[in-house]
Symmetry: C2
Subunit: 166 residues, 2 copies
DNA sequence: GATCATTATGTTATACTATAACAATCACTT
DNA sequence: AAGTGATTGTTATAGTATAACATAATGATC
């Protein structure tokens, strides 16, 4: 469906990203008999505002502006739901949340995170998963869940001279 | 040096693990002109008590028992030092810390974490790293740091019937 | 050995992240 | 319209981590 995965191209039409994410979420919720309530939809939209992972507490002011209760449980519940549906991922090393461009099917998520501009891009983890599976098999370990988070410099920040020491 | 990497074998001589880790740390600190102070050594020893990652706050009581100040900054400073030296790793998905069996040289760390017995085993991430490097290269991303954390069931817990739903 | 700069630790306070527990409301079925 | 389950509101608190400044220990230099 979504063929053009936005990588680190800074000039993609991000409104399109957001619109598509929301539409996909609505569709999937309908077929799954789940409810994309106003607060859930708003949180999803906020998380998608850009490709930089957002902390839960960064979302609270916007919830307040929209007239919702802005206590932490509100946003955490919404995030929990969105994660269960595969609409957002949590990035453990950042305690932050980011929209998922492929919520149609559950998948192992891996991220490239730019330490300079903070953008996070989901990567195809097929080969990574194969390697992990082999290592795990050798040790007799049964994989259930994988977290792959890679920090570094995105192409934009490399070329724009932002590549000074961390 | 350390040839026998403890995997998930539950019957290895763990006193040996601890003793070796401490000795290696002392040696490396000497050559690096770093100070393995009493509180740092104690934290390292505590983290090595078993192969289960420990949270920072779990270490505080033991620090108090040993007569140290047991306020959070004490343990976080020690952990920070130990991480810088490569003696321990932080596992982001658990907010916990675990001893590193190969502190001699910096390396990318990856972990297999058993959701039942909570043990964490560091795995060889050579192939995983290759796969990540390829994916990153395609996108023009420069890798600086990799976090790979895999949750599942270790061989012991699989065979002991602990493999019921999470 | 006394002085000084540096590093490490003690101490208090606070920021940040996340969840428990219970009440009130909403949405859907019957 | 009533009842049931899911969702949200609300208050409180647990869990993780760091800021900021004071004190003490260490190592280099005179």
């Amino acid at each position: 469906m979504n063929q053009e995965d936005p990588g680190f191209e800074s000039d993609h039409n991000h409104q399109h990203c957001i619109a598509q994410a929301l539409e996909t979420a609505h569709t999937l919720c309908r077929t799954r008999h789940q409810r994309l309530t106003p607060v859930r939809e708003l949180v999803l939209k906020l998380v998608w505002q850009n490709h930089q992972p957002l902390g839960a507490y960064e979302l609270l002011p916007a919830l307040a502006d929209a007239g919702f209760n802005s206590a932490p449980p509100t946003v955490y519940r919404a995030l929990e739901f969105l994660q269960e549906q595969g609409f957002v991922h949590r990035i453990a090393s950042l305690n932050a949340y980011v929209g998922c461009p492929h919520p149609e099917r559950p998948h192992r998520s891996g991220f490239l995170i730019c330490r300079n501009c903070k953008r996070a891009v989901e990567l195809n983890t097929h080969d990574v998963h194969s390697a992990l599976k082999d290592s795990a098999a050798t040790l007799g370990f049964e994989i259930e869940q994988e977290m792959v988070e890679v920090v570094g410099l995105c192409p934009d920040c490399r070329t724009s001279g932002a590549d000074h020491a961390q």
